[in-house]
């Protein structure tokens, strides 16, 4: 039974249940890498070009952590899943970046995921994946249906406000923590950013847990139903070109529209992230027009938890002052 390694980075946080369920259904063993730690980061930093952003470096680290334990590395080439926006160019060239970085890697499965007019995007991809492991059409179809069901459940859990780690544990039956996860607290923050930066506690400096510890609630972009995001897509004069960036931009517009649900927006951005250069300024301007507090946290391989914590505390203090009416954003004394 071949073993396929799925690195715990990038699109893992969005599509892991789909891939895992499908591969296991067609009789392939799946092994995902362990949570990011210092060693993985160091491995990644060594192998990646200096100019790449930290999520890409982390991915290289995860691939290296897996390389001796698996027969294949699963690294699909995510091009486009809605036919309109692409993924970041680094996603497009990712399998090649990894493949040519070292010569001792196991074979990389780099099938393309691209929406074309006639074909359903994931079935087309999973069909070819199934054929790669010599599964027949019947097996593939059954595996596809089960995988799709798991993925839908996962998205539903994310929409109710669970974070990927808990949601994955619930899917696997390891946790039955269905207690209320979004109690209404004194302060509620929207933490926006790409799932691979926001949900990786190692690179985001435990941002989500720290916000919880300070007694504030967190909403992320995965908790907004797709249909509401689509509605927001008509607001921008020109949508961005990248899938995840669009989701972040639309969800920020959604939060700005429903101002009462949140008190401030935090944008988590990786150092040197290309799409974020545009996205961050866009969010900043929109938040400014909406008179909403806005904080950018930029992360890289040198950022420590303490630095992030200090900025977070200052931001939260400002929000608390504002709530108690000591001063407001317009600068007028009350």
């Amino acid at each position: 039974m071949p073993v396929v390694g799925i690195p715990r980075a990038l699109a893992y946080y969005t599509y892991f249940p789909l891939w895992k369920t499908f591969l296991e259904e067609i009789g392939v063993q799946v092994k995902s890498s362990i949570a990011t730690n210092k060693q993985i980061l160091d491995l990644g930093v060594q192998e990646t070009v200096t100019d790449a952003c930290i999520p890409i470096k982390i991915l290289h680290g995860h691939v290296l952590a897996l390389k001796d334990k698996v027969d294949y590395i699963f690294l699909p080439r995510l091009v486009s899943i809605d036919g309109q926006s692409n993924f970041c160019p680094k996603f497009l060239g990712l399998p090649d970046m990894v493949r040519y970085s070292r010569s001792d890697l196991p074979p990389i499965i780099s099938l393309r995921i691209k929406k074309t007019i006639m074909k359903p995007v994931f079935f087309n991809f999973l069909y070819h994946l199934g054929r790669f492991f010599q599964a027949n059409l019947q097996l593939i179809t059954r595996a596809y249906l089960r995988a799709r069901k798991a993925q839908k459940q996962y998205f539903r859990l994310l929409e109710t406000g669970f974070f990927p780690d808990t949601a994955l544990a619930i899917l696997e039956g390891k946790s039955d923590d269905i207690e209320s996860i979004n109690p209404s607290l004194a302060l509620n923050l929207a933490v926006l950013g790409y799932p691979y930066s926001v949900y990786d506690p190692y690179i985001s400096g435990n941002l989500l847990q720290n916000i919880h510890k300070m007694g504030a609630g967190v909403s992320t972009m995965e908790s907004i139903p797709n249909i509401l995001l689509k509605k927001m897509s008509r607001r921008l004069p020109l949508n961005l070109f990248w899938h995840y960036s669009n989701l972040v931009a639309w969800s920020s517009l959604h939060f700005l529209e429903n101002v009462n649900s949140i008190d401030g927006i935090i944008h988590v951005s990786a150092f040197g992230c290309g799409p974020d250069a545009m996205l961050n300024r866009l969010l900043e301007l929109e938040a400014k027009h909406g008179k909403n507090p806005f904080l950018t946290i930029s992360i890289d391989e040198h950022s420590g938890e303490a630095g992030i914590l200090t900025r977070l505390e200052a931001f939260m203090d400002m929000l608390k002052y504002q709530k108690t009416g000591l001063y407001n954003l317009g600068g007028e004394k009350q």
Partner: protein
């Protein structure tokens, strides 16, 4: 309302051709300033931190020009996955935020939105008739071609010149001839005069020169102020630079055919179009090595995503194709001396390599 004032961003020698085009269309052209320290720092001040240097230089130029109250700013747009397509929209937002509201006309790739392309031409040509607009366009194209021709010639001559600086002087004389030329026949005469001027530069034909390919992102390739005049630098070190992008071949190839030769060559290494010139950079390195060039310099602005993808393939390609590759990522912190030192070391290394 009187004559409308129009402006655009400076990009290499092409500014001369665009200036003529817009004057023919009946606009008053505000000359785009040649990028310098002041413009760059203006741009850096108002740009997002991780925007690439073309974004910052262009925004800085707009902010400098805006004192002259232009009515229209012409720029190019795109559809990704490279960020440059979004730059026009972002520039507009930032200028609006600062309280300026000039009209922006963005040109999208004509093949993707043909109707939009003609609509923009219609909007731009204003009161000029469609036929004379087309004639003006054709004339501007002729001028662009002439500009590129003398530039290529100057690269070849500079590496062999006997007296340092003669070629650059002759090249700038040639540019002034072309700038003054207004009709098709005078453009031809000016081109011949410019070529003549360059041919008069005394050269040493015995000198052995290196052939260096230049690949990478379009703006830093085309704008000498952004790449620290790397072509002159190479010429002075007796190397002939061979740039892969000229505006004329770019306009001919890229908007109309999506599959140029370089992309085909790049397929075995990088099968996906990663936006910008990432895939071409990979293909160009392969084809330069097949044509027996001595080395390749990859030029890219810092945080340019497509070129980062290309860069991560360079160590492998360089080894596999047996060709030295130097990657220069340029940002506002890059200094002239730093670039000179690295290029010098690179050229020395190639010369040593050939002796062994």
């Amino acid at each position: 309302m009187g004559i409308k004032k129009i402006t655009f961003a400076h990009m290499g020698t092409s500014a001369l051709a665009f200036k003529m085009l817009f004057q023919d269309l009946g606009y008053e052209v505000i000359n785009p300033p040649v990028p310098d320290k002041h413009i760059l720092s203006l741009g850096v001040k108002y740009s997002p931190e991780f925007a690439c240097i073309p974004f910052k230089i262009v925004l800085g130029s707009y902010l400098k020009i805006i004192e002259n109250n232009p009515h229209v700013i012409v720029s190019a747009g795109g559809f990704g996955p490279c960020r440059a397509g979004y730059y026009g929209e972002m520039h507009r937002r930032i200028l609006n935020e600062l309280g300026y509201n000039p009209d922006f006309i963005f040109f999208w790739p004509p093949l993707k939105k043909p109707l939009n392309f003609f609509k923009k031409i219609y909007q731009l040509k204003d009161k000029t008739s469609f036929i004379s607009a087309m004639i003006a366009l054709k004339r501007a194209w002729k001028k662009l071609k002439a500009l590129d021709q003398i530039e290529i010639l100057s690269h070849k001559i500079r590496a062999r010149e006997k007296n340092h600086g003669m070629t650059t002087y002759a090249f700038h004389r040639g540019l002034t001839y072309l700038d003054e030329a207004r009709t098709t026949s005078s453009i031809r005469e000016a081109r011949e005069a410019a070529v003549e001027e360059l041919r008069k530069v005394p050269v040493d034909n015995q000198r052995s020169v290196l052939n260096i390919g230049i690949v990478g992102e379009i703006y830093v390739q085309l704008e000498p102020a952004a790449n620290f005049h790397i072509e002159e630098l190479l010429g002075n070190m007796t190397a002939v630079p061979h740039r892969t992008i000229f505006l004329t071949n770019f306009a001919r190839k890229s908007p109309f055919s999506h599959d140029s030769k370089a992309k085909k060559i790049a397929k075995p290494f990088l099968p996906e179009m990663v936006g910008g010139h990432g895939q071409q950079s990979v293909g160009d390195v392969v084809s330069f090595s097949q044509q027996g060039y001595d080395g390749v310099i990859q030029l890219a602005p810092f945080t340019c995503i497509p070129e980062i993808v290309a860069k991560s393939l360079m160590p492998y390609l360089s080894k596999r194709m047996n060709i030295p590759v130097l990657t220069l990522f340029i940002d506002e912190q890059t200094g002239q001396a730093g670039v000179e030192t690295r290029v010098e070391a690179f050229i020395d290394m190639i010369q040593q390599r050939q002796k062994d």
